[in-house]
Structures are given as C-alpha cells and as structure tokens.
C-alpha cells in the first residue's frame, strides 16, 4: 500500500484542500498509486527513460528583436495589474 502525506503534497502543489477533500482524495489517490505500482513487476534494468516520443533538441534562433504583443495585452488577462506590472498581495512582511 502506497504511503502518502496528502497535506504535505498539497503544500508542495500550493493547493488548498478542505478536510473533506483530503478525506476523499486519500483513498482515491492510494487506490490509483496501488494500481500504478504494478509497474514494479517490469524489468527496467538498463532501459533508458523516454521523455518524448521522438528526440527533442534545443532549437536556436538568431537573437534579433521581433514584434510581439504589447505588455498591456498580457496585463489585460491578469486578475489585478498596476502600471506595467502584475499586482499581488504583499510578499515582504513589515518590520515591527
């Protein structure tokens, strides 16, 4: 049986879960992990991992300026923006 500390994983994922959600997810996620653990029976010794179906390579281009969307276009999609910036709640605490 897989062991999973759901509260810690949710913290890593920056995902708020209610107690009810945690109760629900616990059983479901364990069930899914037990299922995927069937992979343990496959001999993978010496096998290279596949990240993409076909080899991917770095694609380079000349470092030339090209037209792109204006900053305002992207700021329009934000829940909150101010001037030329995305606005977020305070990050640094006040010194008391």
């Amino acid at each position: 049986m897989a062991d999973i500390d759901l509260k810690n994983v949710a913290k890593l994922a920056r995902l708020h879960l209610t107690d009810d959600e945690i109760r629900h997810l616990e059983g479901q996620v364990k069930g899914i992990l037990d299922f995927v653990e069937q992979l343990k029976e496959v001999n993978v010794e010496g096998i290279e991992p596949t990240t993409h179906p076909f080899p991917v390579r770095d694609v380079f281009r000349e470092d030339e300026p090209k037209p792109s969307l204006k900053i305002e276009e992207f700021l329009k999609t934000a829940p909150k923006a101010k001037g030329r910036f995305f606005e977020v709640p305070k990050i640094i605490e006040d010194k008391s």
Binding site: G31, I32, P49, F54, E73, T77, P79
Partner: protein
C-alpha cells in the same frame, strides 16, 4: 436556399460553394443548426455571442468558407479560452493558436468553442465547469471525453468540422462514442502553440469529421513544422488526399493479441471480427502481433500525464490569468486559495498525483520507472511496424456509458482509455472510425487504426478503404 449546410461534410460544402452557395448562407445555416441542437446537447460553451472569425483568403483551399468549431483549450484571439475550468473564467486569449492561424489563412471560418472535461482531464465530459455535454445518439449517455463537445457538435450536425486535443484518447474515444471519425496525429505533426498544455509530451491537436476524407483535408491544413513549437517536427507534409481511394491489396495489418485476449465485450468483439473479414475481402493480410508492454500503458500514463500536468498547471496561480481568490491577503495563501477554489475535483486529483510522483524520494520509484516502461512500449511499436503496415484495435472497451456510471470511481474512468493511451506514449498516429453498432441499443462502436510515426497517409488509406467498404459512417443521419 433552405439547404442544411451543417449536415454536410467539408467536401460536400466545397461543391456547394462551387455551385454558388454564399458564405453568409452557410454560416447562417450552421449557426441556426448549432443553436437549435445545442439546447439538448450542450456541445458548446457560450455559443451565443460568439462571432465567427474569418479573414479574406483566396478560394483555393478545400476548406475555404468551411466553419470549424474548436475545443475550449485552443486559443482564438479575442475569445475566452477556459479549458472548461473555473480558474480560467474570463481569460481572453490575446493571440491565435497556430492551427487557428493556418485555418484562417486557408479561408476556413472559426465558429464555436466546444465543451470539454476540465483541462482535458476525463473521458466523459462530466468534469467541465459548464456541466456535461450529452451524446447526440442517446441523451442519457456521455459523449466521451475529454473532447466531448467537439465530437458531439459534429455528430449532431451542429458543426461541419471540429478540432479537439488528444493526450490519452481524448479525440478517438469520443469519436467512437458519437459515431464519427477522430484522428490523433503523430506527436509533432501539428503545432501545439496556443493549445493550453495538459501533458506536453503527449498532447496533439486533431480533427473530428464525418468521414475520413474530411479528416485528411483538415489535417492537410493544420499539419507542419512551426518555429513556435520546438517539438513540432520538420518532416514534409505529403498530399493526404492522394492516399484516399488507393486499394489496400497486400497491406499487412496486425491485431495485437494482448488487446483481444483481455475479454472484449460481445459488441466490440463482433465489430473487430467483421472488420477483419472486410479488410481481408479488400485484399489486406491480417495477422496476430504482440505488443507485450502495452498492458502497462494505463499505469505509465497515470504517472507521466499527471506529472506533466502538475507542472503545466503550476502557472495557474491567480497572478497572470483568470481567477484569483480575493480574500487572501498574503502571497502564498493567495496561490493556495485561488487554486483550491479554481480547480475542480479531477484537476486536484491529478495535481496531487503528479506532485507526489515528482517529489523527492518518490521520483525514481514512480516517474523515472514510468518513463523507462514508456521506452519498452515504444519499442513494442517499433518492432510491430517492422512486420506490419498498420495495427487494428478497438477504440474503447465499450459503447458510450451512462452519466454517473464511472464518475464515482476514477480508476474505472481511467481504464476507458486502455486501447488509446499507448499511441500517445509511443507518439504514433491513430484514427478512430465507425465500425459497428451495439446489438441492444444501436450505439456506435469505433475501431482504431495505427501506423508508424508520420505515416498518416497510409492511415488515411486503410481507414478510407475500410469506411468505403462499410456503411457505418452513413448511419450518422439517425441522431436524435
């Protein structure tokens, strides 16, 4: 003129244009059909008010003036793109996906955004923030997913063509459930630029169509290398229509023994048996092959896909797009609350699964091992395609299931993609075509052909020959 253009294929529509139909006639007709049909089916998200997008183009592409509906995860400039999720409500895309640019350049018209499982997480369209889409064949059943709206719109004649995306079967399974043609191209064949990412090593955009010819016509327009997608392939795009009508004499078709040994339902088994007879009568040779590691495909997928998804979805944090939980007054709680409120249950499940698989101490046991088994699955296909030209399998284990039938048990839902997931893991192209009807309810059964990477030409060749030798695709008229 009172022709119902929405009932036509794109190739029939091209003939109608040649005979003098105007773009206004066609759009009015398709709009009326979409609005009327959608009351019961709900294939579209916010259809009302969606303005068709087109640009002036010369009448040279077969898709000129043809309306195309797009899945709600494909960006169209100036239109909302919400992925069926609360967290992207009110997100208006500032640019066009490459597939949309290519369609507009060809003179096609973008009309309608189709419903989907939230972030394409699902096989039934039940996880959409907008509520489910219904299967036009039977309104008590799911249309499949995640591209359920794209499939239902075309099957109900509420659209001529549509685009979906396929990460583990999300085009092919709904095509099967709704009785139409759905294609997942080779990984890298179609640019993913402007497709809101789910799992970047698996996602492909592809067509939903009423027949195989339309599938070839639509892929022709959207395929090709795109400098904006570094995983798009620099492989020439052949003339796909030239493969249609070619016979399949001597073509070698393999049936994976692992796929049929697993105890197929009677309807699906009959469709497979009939297909073998049809293909042999057409002169193809059918033989048994083995894809021994594909029995682990669903296991691998539910590590790889959620891992990539948890990483891709980290960008939805209430800062740059969509929904923010206003009450939170510090940064981290703002992230956590926005995501906690914005994502639905299945998205949360996958974010948790993926984050766990990638987390320190578990990475080797889960993610790394899954990527190694993925290598073995890919090898199985390489070896199979040394012996056969195409592979035939069922698309799904059953016909469309009822609402609520699998939504309480995630694992059971995941297993409905058991036959489609391998193609995404290996990157090979795969098409679902109508292959029968269930005996009891007359529901569509889809069959899947696969070929080696970038061999969509031969995929269309065999699928078209099969389609023309049967009449399952013509049963589309019987929608409720």
């Amino acid at each position: 003129m009172s022709l119902n253009f929405a009932e036509m294929t794109a190739s029939a529509l091209a003939e109608a244009y040649a005979a003098g139909a105007t773009q206004k006639d066609v759009l009015d007709s398709v709009r009326a059909a979409a609005q009327t049909k959608d009351a019961a089916i709900r294939a579209y998200v916010k259809l009302e008010g969606a303005q068709p997008k087109h640009r002036k183009a010369e009448k040279k592409s077969p898709l000129w003036g043809v309306p195309v509906a797009v899945k709600d995860n494909i960006c169209v400039e100036g239109q909302e793109a919400t992925c069926g999720s609360k967290i992207l409500q009110n997100y208006v895309a500032p640019y066009n996906a490459t597939v949309v640019e290519k369609l507009l350049d060809a003179g096609a018209v973008i009309y309608g955004r189709t419903n989907m499982d939230e972030f394409a997480f699902g096989s039934s369209c039940e996880t959409s923030f907008y509520g489910p889409t219904k299967n036009p064949r039977d309104l008590t059943r799911v249309p499949g997913g995640s591209s359920g709206g794209s499939a239902a719109s075309v099957a109900a004649h509420a659209a001529v063509l549509s685009l979906g995306s396929d990460t583990g079967g999300s085009i092919r399974q709904p095509a099967s459930f709704c009785g139409i043609v759905g294609l997942k191209p080779t990984y890298g064949r179609v640019s993913r630029y402007g497709l809101i990412a789910f799992a970047s090593s698996l996602d492909q955009i592809g067509p939903f169509t009423k027949d195989v010819r339309d599938s070839a016509l639509l892929l022709q327009v959207i395929a090709g290398h795109d400098p904006k997608d570094s995983t798009s392939a620099e492989v020439p795009v052949p003339d796909y229509a030239s493969f249609l009508g070619k016979d399949v004499k001597g073509m070698r078709i393999g049936i994976p023994k692992e796929y049929v040994a697993s105890g197929l339902g009677a309807d699906v088994k009959k469709a497979m048996d009939d297909a073998v007879k049809t293909l042999e009568a057409l002169g193809a040779t059918v033989s048994e092959i083995s894809l021994p590691h594909t029995k682990y495909a669903v296991n691998v997928y539910y590590i790889v896909a959620p891992s990539e998804a948890s990483s891709n979805l980290s960008r939805f944090d209430g800062v740059r797009f969509g929904f923010r939980e206003a009450a939170a007054d510090a940064l981290v709680p703002m992230y956590e609350r926005s995501r906690g409120t914005g994502f639905g249950a299945e998205a949360k499940r996958r974010i948790i699964l993926g984050t766990y698989s990638l987390s320190s101490g578990y990475y080797d046991a889960y993610y790394l091992r899954a990527m190694k088994v993925r290598t073995l699955i890919k090898r199985d296909f390489d070896e199979a395609f040394a012996k056969v030209d195409a592979i035939l399998t069922p698309t799904a284990p059953s016909a469309a299931f009822k609402f609520g039938e699998k939504s309480k048990n995630p694992l059971e839902m995941y297993l409905s993609d058991i036959f489609t997931i391998s193609a995404n893991l290996a990157g090979v192209p795969a098409i679902s075509v109508p292959g029968g009807l269930s005996a009891a309810e007359g529901l569509p059964i889809g069959l899947q052909f696969m070929t080696k990477p970038f061999d969509e030409g031969n995929l269309f060749r065999v699928a078209h020959a099969f389609e023309q030798a049967t009449d399952w695709h013509k049963k589309l008229g019987n929608v409720k």
